[in-house]
């Protein structure tokens, strides 16, 4: 094996890294800066969406209506869903991709830095419009639910400008996603370091490639749907208006052709995070690399053919077809669980904070996945549709899955991004609070759904089995709230009283761990030859390298 370059110097920064000024922070096209901007902004939206969820939980803690008006409640669940899906989880994945992909493939930056910054600003602008659609709208905020079904979202039933601002906001999100997808694909296909073949890419990067393709394919039909809806509302069109000969089912087709792949846009990046974390803290190579990549591609492909399982009860789709396609997704997802379990099997597991969150992810997502298989069966879905069972299932996959993976990723890569460690002991408390709080919040919602509690109801009568699960669920929310507050305190303390992280505090596998923390401009002073999918490990253990 020829060794031609020195390993990047593992220098411990004696001084905290130089802080960018506000103007520099907002205009720098460096991928690391944009990645951090994405993540911080997205986390800000998480706090907004979480606050709305808190208000809803307080309202539902007791029967009857106490805190908010019916219209305000409708607006809250609309904005909560939109913010969490389009402004928090998906953009957080793009933020991490921005930060990590060039580092993981040995590139100095993303392929199109200005496009990258443009993508970020479109996302931030979209967030502004979507928040405005809820609060600053003459004639009423957007209150039609995050999928804006017609005819409810038509002018006749939603006359306020809130829906229009919401449509514009989502259109900007779509533009941002398409820009981000183009950038990610170009970067991965054309800017890998010599020797970093596609079959040596870290799994996180692989998952972002599939996610980017999904975004490129799924967003344009949805933009078409939103454009037609806008024309219906503002220019007298009738594309989706049944009274004018339009077809509301067509809107549902176009929306869910985005909406269901969007669920995988919300989860695939976080599968990637978990796949990065588990081998490091199991002290074992990843089990089934090829299987994991193929499973990701299979999930991506299948996710394009399952959209109408959201339309089982409309009576206008072929339920067996979509049921079969939806059930098939359990196979590649099972492959992933098998690979994660196989990686941990007989490993030397260390229960650090990232690993605790990864284990929480596995448990939560398993429940979310199994209940997803139940809902993929049309006869069950007819009973559960639009009940709290669906709400619980969705939150077990996205909140219990993606958000736990986000916390795993934050604790895992925070030292790389800032050069400082987060507090381990505090992090464990955060992990426990979030896990307990999450399950207290959402497990009772399965019970509520089975008892027939419909989603999106602002109140309910007492003594018919809804009181106790709702009260427990609200209590669980506040446990999670405490966990998030502690997390923010952890970040603040760790940035103020820095515990230097060093270049590779965990003994990582991928290439970002061979450069300094935080990485220098253009990432690497020098690169060693890449001979496997874990080049950082190869550098630490040349005797084991291929």
């Amino acid at each position: 094996m020829s060794v031609t370059l020195e390993r990047p110097v593992a220098a411990q920064p004696e001084e905290p890294p130089r802080r960018l000024g506000p103007v520099e922070r907002l205009t720098s096209t460096d991928h690391k800066n944009i990645g951090i901007l994405y993540c911080v902004t997205a986390f800000g939206f998480f706090l907004v969406g979480g606050a709305l969820a808190g208000l809803m939980r307080v309202e539902l803690a007791e029967p009857a209506r106490q805190v908010v008006s019916t219209q305000a409640y409708n607006t809250m669940f609309t904005i909560h869903g939109t913010v969490m899906i389009f402004l928090f989880v998906a953009p957080f994945g793009i933020g991490l991709a921005n930060y990590l992909i060039p580092l993981q493939i040995g590139a100095p930056d993303m392929a199109f830095p200005r496009l990258n910054l443009t993508s970020y600003w479109f996302f931030a602008g979209a967030g502004l419009l979507i928040l405005l659609s809820g609060v600053a709208s003459t004639g009423g905020g957007a209150a039609m639910g995050w999928y804006a079904y017609t005819p409810l979202s038509e002018m006749r039933y939603s006359p306020g400008v809130g829906v229009d601002l919401w449509i514009l906001g989502i259109a900007l999100v779509a533009i941002s996603n398409v820009m981000g997808g183009v950038n990610i694909l170009t970067t991965v296909f054309l800017m890998r370091a010599p020797g970093m073949t596609m079959w040596r890419l870290p799994i996180f990067t692989w998952n972002m490639v599939v996610t980017a393709i999904l975004g490129l394919v799924a967003f344009p039909p949805a933009v078409a749907a939103f454009a037609l809806l806008f024309i219906d509302r503002r220019l007298g069109g009738h594309a989706f208006d049944p009274l004018g000969g339009g077809d509301p089912a067509l809107y549902q087709h176009l929306f869910w052709f985005l909406g269901h792949p969007e669920v995988y846009i919300l989860i695939l990046p976080f599968f990637g995070i978990i796949t990065e974390v588990i081998p490091v803290f199991s002290r074992k190579p990843l089990f089934g690399y090829l299987g994991l990549v193929l499973a990701t591609i299979a999930i991506g492909a299948l996710s394009m053919g399952v959209w109408a399982h959201h339309m089982f009860t409309t009576g206008v789709v072929n339920n067996p077809f979509f049921s079969a396609m939806s059930l098939l997704i359990a196979v590649p997802t099972g492959v992933k669980f098998f690979a994660w379990t196989g990686t941990m099997w007989k490993g030397k597991i260390s229960f650090t904070v990232p690993m605790l969150f990864a284990l929480g992810f596995l448990l939560n997502f398993l429940i979310g996945g199994v209940t997803g298989v139940m809902l993929a069966s049309a006869p069950i879905d007819f009973h559960m549709n639009d009940s709290y069972f669906v709400v619980a299932h969705f939150h077990y996959t996205i909140m219990g899955g993606s958000v736990f993976a986000i916390f795993a990723g934050i604790y895992f890569w925070f030292p790389k991004m800032t050069g400082a460690m987060l507090r381990e002991r505090l992090g464990r408390v955060v992990a426990v609070l979030l896990f307990v709080g999450f399950n207290l919040t959402f497990w009772p919602q399965f019970v509520l759904g089975l008892r027939g509690f419909p989603r999106r109801y602002v109140s309910y009568p007492p003594d018919i089995g809804f009181d106790t699960p709702n009260l427990v669920s609200t209590f669980g929310y506040f446990v999670m709230f405490a966990g998030v507050v502690l997390f923010l305190a952890d970040v603040a303390v760790s940035l103020r009283r820095r515990v230097p992280a060093g270049d590779d505090p965990w003994g990582g596998n991928s290439l970002e761990w061979v450069t300094s923390s935080p990485p220098p401009d253009h990432n690497f002073d020098a690169l060693r030859p890449i001979r496997s999918e874990r080049p950082a490990f190869d550098l630490r253990h040349p005797e084991l390298a291929p």
Binding site: S2, T4, L26, T27, S28, T29, D30, G106, A107, D109, P113, R114, L117, T118, Y120, W121, F122, A124, G125, L128, L129, V161, D164, L165, L168, L172, M191, R192, A193, P194, G195, M196, T197, M198, R200, I213, V217, P221, F230, R234, A249, L250, L254, F257, I297, G300, A301, M304, G305, W307, A308, V316, V317, N318, F321, M325, H522, A526, R528, P529
Partner: protein, 121 residues
């Protein structure tokens, strides 16, 4: 991978048509199959005349890429922010009134020009 995705979209779209005779979903699935076909076509056309790049050579070493130009990486740009402000103003004009439209278009045009000049410098 792209050809596999094309085949998946085309086959599942065809099966869907014969199972349901429902045009919207069939069109969406066939459209989905076209995107990877375009990418695959590009790669076949251009990959055929391109030597295997170093990143796809499992034995390549970084020194073989020394001096290779990867592209130009600008340090900072304010135009993306201006472009988005212009786009939002154009969008808002469709909701709040067309008086805002000239302002939005002017700001957007300014941002596009700024980006073009910046990319040439």
């Amino acid at each position: 991978m792209m050809l596999a995705l094309f085949a998946f979209g085309a086959i599942s779209g065809t099966i869907y048509w014969f199972v349901t005779y429902e045009p919207a979903g069939t069109f969406l699935l066939w459209s989905f199959s076209l995107m990877p076909l375009i990418v695959a076509g590009y790669l076949v056309l251009h990959g055929a005349v391109r030597a295997r790049p170093l990143e796809d050579d499992p034995d390549a070493t970084p020194d073989r890429a020394a001096g290779q130009e990867l592209g130009t990486f600008p340090a900072a740009s304010a135009w993306p922010l201006v472009l988005v402000l212009g786009s939002i103003t154009v969008g808002a004009s469709l909701v709040y009134g067309l008086l805002l439209l000239p302002v939005g278009l002017a700001v957007t045009a300014l941002a596009v020009l700024g980006l073009m000049r910046e990319s040439q410098s």
